[in-house]
C-alpha cells in the first residue's frame, strides 16, 4: 500500500497582528510601507509567549479529529515537527501521544526542522508507511518562531507568523507521494540562526548586545537572525535546480505538473522564482497574505488552500519544494 495526504487541518493562535498593528509598533517604517508590502503579508498570528508549540499543535490535531472520521486508535505513528519543545527531555511527541489519547502501541518521534520541516517529515512518514504497512500517521508541523524575535527586529515581525498544522497521511493502492530530493549546506548554517542559548553558546551578557545591520534592522545573538540577501540569493540559485531534480527523479515533465506549491518564504522571492521558472499564474500557489511565513507550516497551509477550495482533483500532480534554515532544501511530487 502507498501513502497519500488524506487531510490537512490548520490552527492559529488567537492574537492577530495586522499591518496596522505593525505600524503602530514601528511607526518609523510607515514611509516604507509600499516596499514592505512586496513580501506579501497583510496580517499574521502571533502566539502568546507562555503558550508552547505543543499546545498549538494539540489544538490542530483535536480539530483534525473533529473534521475527519478517523478513530484515534487507528493512528499508527506520530511525528511532531518543530523547533520548540516542551522539555530538554522527554520528547514532546510522547507527551502529545498521551494528551491526544492515542494508543500506547504506537511510535512517536520529534523532528527538528524549520522551513524544510514538512518535506523532511513527509519523507520519513512515507518510509514508515511503506516499510511497516502502517495505515495512518499523524504528522504535526508547527512554528512559534515569533517568540525568538528581538523586540526591535521589524523585518522578522513583518514577515513571519505562527501556526500549527495537523496532517493525516493514510495508505491506498495508488501512488500518492513521489520520490524525494534533498540538499543540505551547513556551510551557510549562520544565514538563519539563533546564535546563543543552545548547547554551543550559552547565554551571556554579550548575547543581549543589540546589533543594527546596514538596513537599520536590529537583533542580538540571543534572538533570531536572518541574512535576508543571503537567503534570497540561496533561494534564487537553489530552487530552479531543485525543481529540475524533482521532475527528473519523478519522471515527470514541467508541463505535467498541475500545481507548484513552494515554501511560502516571501512573496517577492516566490514571484521572482515564478518568473525565472516560467510557471503560469494558474499553477502557482501564493498563500501567505493572512498568515505570513509560518516556517514548517507554510506548505501544508498552501496545499490546504487547494484542497479546501476544491481546486485540485484526483490524480493531479502537485510539486512541493521547501528551502531555508540549515541551509536545507527538498521536495517531491504529490499525486492527489
Amino acid at each position: 500500500m502507498k501513502p497519500y495526504i488524506k487531510h490537512i487541518t490548520e490552527y492559529y493562535p488567537e492574537k492577530k497582528f495586522s499591518n496596522n498593528d505593525f505600524f503602530i509598533k514601528f511607526p518609523e517604517l510607515k514611509s516604507k510601507e509600499e516596499t514592505l508590502l512586496k513580501v506579501g503579508v497583510l496580517s499574521r498570528y502571533i502566539v502568546d509567549i507562555n503558550v508552547p508549540a505543543s499546545d498549538l499543535v494539540f489544538n490542530a490535531a483535536e480539530k483534525l479529529f473533529n473534521e475527519t472520521n478517523i478513530n484515534r486508535n487507528d493512528i499508527d505513528f506520530l511525528v511532531f515537527c518543530s523547533t520548540e519543545f516542551d522539555h530538554y527531555t522527554p520528547t514532546t511527541s510522547s507527551i502529545l501521544q498521551n494528551r491526544l489519547k492515542l494508543s500506547n502501541s504506537i511510535g512517536a518521534i520529534d523532528v527538528v526542522s524549520s522551513c524544510t520541516g514538512f518535506v523532511h517529515s513527509l519523507s520519513l512518514v512515507k518510509g514508515l508507511i511503506e516499510a511497516n504497512e502502517f495505515k495512518n500517521i499523524l504528522l504535526l508541523c508547527v512554528s512559534t518562531l515569533t517568540k525568538t524575535f528581538h523586540k526591535k527586529d521589524a523585518n522578522s515581525h513583518f514577515l513571519f507568523g505562527d501556526a500549527a498544522t495537523a496532517i493525516l497521511i493514510s495508505n491506498r493502492v495508488e501512488d500518492g507521494i513521489g520520490k524525494f530530493v534533498f540538499g543540505t549546506d551547513g556551510g551557510r548554517s549562520d544565514y538563519i540562526i539563533v546564535r546563543d542559548g543552545g548547547g554551543r553558546n550559552k547565554l551571556t551578557e554579550q548575547s543581549f548586545l543589540e546589533e543594527e545591520n546596514e538596513y537599520g534592522n536590529t537583533t542580538c545573538n540571543a534572538n533570531f537572525f536572518m541574512n535576508g540577501t543571503g537567503v534570497f540569493l540561496f533561494g534564487l540559485k537553489t530552487v530552479p535546480k531543485l525543481i529540475d531534480e524533482i521532475l527528473f527523479k519523478n519522471n515527470t515533465t514541467f508541463e505535467e505538473v498541475d500545481y507548484f506549491v513552494f515554501h511560502q518564504a516571501n512573496k517577492f522571492l516566490l514571484k521572482t522564482l515564478q518568473k525565472k521558472l516560467g510557471i503560469p499564474d494558474e499553477k502557482f500557489v501564493i498563500h501567505m497574505e493572512n498568515t505570513g511565513n509560518t516556517v514548517a507550516a507554510t506548505i501544508p497551509i498552501a496545499f490546504n488552500s487547494l484542497m479546501k477550495n476544491d481546486k485540485i482533483k484526483k490524480g493531479d500532480k502537485i510539486l512541493i519544494a521547501a528551502f531555508g534554515t540549515g541551509l536545507t532544501w527538498g521536495g517531491t511530487i504529490i499525486k492527489y
Binding site: E34, T35, N213, Y215, G228, T229, K237, K275, K276
Partner: protein
C-alpha cells in the same frame, strides 16, 4: 549592455515606489529615504534576470552608487 542612464532608469522603475527622477547614477543609494533590504532584493533579482549576473550582499555593500553597480555588472557580463 544598456547605457548608464538607461540602467539607472530601469533600476528606478524596478523600485516602483520611487518618484521619477529621484534616482540618479551618482547619488549614494543608501541615502534614499526608502532604502531597505527589500530594495537590495529587488536590485539582486533584476540584475539576475536581466544580465544573469549574481550580485551578493557584499557587492551591494562595496558599491555606493548606481554607477558603481553598473560598472561592476559590466565587468561580469
Amino acid at each position: 549592455m544598456v547605457t548608464l542612464d538607461e540602467f539607472t532608469k530601469n533600476i528606478e522603475i524596478e523600485l516602483d515606489d520611487l518618484e521619477s527622477g529621484t534616482l540618479t547614477s551618482d547619488i549614494n543609494y543608501r541615502d534614499l529615504e526608502q532604502w531597505s533590504s527589500m530594495y537590495a532584493l529587488i536590485i539582486i533579482a533584476y540584475v539576475d534576470s536581466e544580465y544573469n549576473v549574481t550580485l551578493t550582499g557584499d557587492d551591494l555593500r562595496s558599491c555606493n552608487t548606481v554607477r558603481d553597480l553598473y560598472l561592476l555588472i559590466k565587468s561580469r557580463v
